[in-house]
Symmetry: C2
Subunit: 347 residues, 2 copies
Amino acid sequence: MTATHIPVQAVVEFATAAFAKAGVPEVDAAKAGRLLVESDLNGSDGHGIFRLPQYVGGLRSGRVDPNGAIVVDIEGPATAHIDGGNALGHLVMARATEVAIEKAKSQGAAWVGVRGSNHAGAASIWASQMLPHDMIGIYLAVGSNNFMAPWGGFERLLGTNPIAFAVPGLEEPPILFDMATSIAANGKVQMAQQRGEPMPVGWVIDRDGNPITDPNKADDGVLLPIGDYKGYGLSLMIGLIGATLNGGQFGREPTDALASNTGQAVLALSISRFGDANAFKRRVDAIARDIRGSGRLPGVDEIRLPGDRASAVREERTRDGIPVPPSLRAALDKVADGLGIAHLLPA
Amino acid sequence: MTATHIPVQAVVEFATAAFAKAGVPEVDAAKAGRLLVESDLNGSDGHGIFRLPQYVGGLRSGRVDPNGAIVVDIEGPATAHIDGGNALGHLVMARATEVAIEKAKSQGAAWVGVRGSNHAGAASIWASQMLPHDMIGIYLAVGSNNFMAPWGGFERLLGTNPIAFAVPGLEEPPILFDMATSIAANGKVQMAQQRGEPMPVGWVIDRDGNPITDPNKADDGVLLPIGDYKGYGLSLMIGLIGATLNGGQFGREPTDALASNTGQAVLALSISRFGDANAFKRRVDAIARDIRGSGRLPGVDEIRLPGDRASAVREERTRDGIPVPPSLRAALDKVADGLGIAHLLPA
């Protein structure tokens, strides 16, 4: 069965209705609904409407607070520390990026760290918030579940802690890059599980160091980091700076079942503080074109810039809607029935 | 033949004398000499006194300006753009980190970008400058030589662009992590060349995508990025933010043989703007101990934190001196003879 394409606005409204019915104040529900769909628009299918059942489940069980107060509790001229009050991650990160952008307008750069947050969708959307302001964005997030071990170890002490960067071009699409520090993100393991397909050797090892290829046994092992010890080091540093610095949860720290205390951080960097913004964007365009037009290895059709696919998907989905496969539709119908709201699609 | 261990102060004085004789003003020569040896103290043997012949060669040939004026030419409350005037990279980065630290004291965070700089030794030493100020440091550098290709390509359009992070512990050594975005740094290729040893499959590929294992043929190929497209994306982002943003050289941009126009950037982040600094450092200690004591894969003797080796080497070399193997000693004697200064070691 193929996916049905649903107009973006309908998906936003469905998510908004679900959040509101789950107790989130209307204006916040609308904001979270709009921001949730940003992940789908960037092509991060595992981080958009796909996650709505998880988010609504969190709100209904009390693990996420629909009325969580998001408070800037320590503030410097170019910094802010935010306690997210265990609100929806999208609302916490929206506030964090708004504060970072405002501060970077006057200070040139700003770093905002949060604790008490939750999963906030695809990393790229938070780095991208800076682009309309002629700023470069960097975003770090610390997973509240650990899937990776220190290099040489087998204990799950590290998240796949992603990092994202966004740099604007002038005529070329923005360069957006986000990555997990593991070879395969946990979402890819889940997809292999859903599809009943084996995982390639190199994604997961067991505690003897042997590969696990059955995705149903992935929980017995650990995800391998990129670049061996390098991915371990990156994940650790993102954890320390994105969570520990802010009082967020990291490593072996106990999980409160009623709050994941997710840590995230964002940097906004105003381009005009380093030279003319348009001149910079023209140089970015030139570099993007150089790379796209450069010599290809045999069998390679196209050299892409990070963000090329996100831009193409955004254009396509804005026009044609967001693809909702039957399994997701069923899961969303269940959410709608549980909340007593209208289905995303009439039966 | 084994390495001779030379007291740290003697190595600093030798480098200082060499820089001064090559035209660098005395006070700057002393500063650069001291900072050059920091790489040796961190255990980055390929980035310390080993590079002196290259640096002196640059100064004498005019490729590096011994009197280059280092100017903060655009300044915001939390940002600075520095034109390094093609001075020694160590002097440019020393100024950049000083400015970043001063600004972060009052603003909480500061980002400083430089153009017109040069090779500045090991990345870790610049991130580490923030540690005594209870700050976290991040440093990005953009190689003036390209060794990597875009993912799917074979043209050398990207440097191995390193990134470094430094986070202080309270009783535990600082967590220092620096990495090149390629699987093997170019220095490792040079070492394999010197030793006449083959390179492992996976370091370098040729333009058909086949592995090159003869280090003497490495120049016919490209270094592979960590994590496939992820290392490509990271290298690209570091290039755009570390060089392009500052007007430094990146990608296919022409190299002026008389100036490499290296771009670098540094972030200083004041810990106390996010909570109590000692409480943070205690949490870092606890995480470091958890990781060190965690379960090991078969055959693994020890789980290390990034920076553990640097701290051990620093202690050892501060006590026993810096190892200078015969080949390096010969190269340094040649530098001394060329400049007319005393040898590092009496014959």
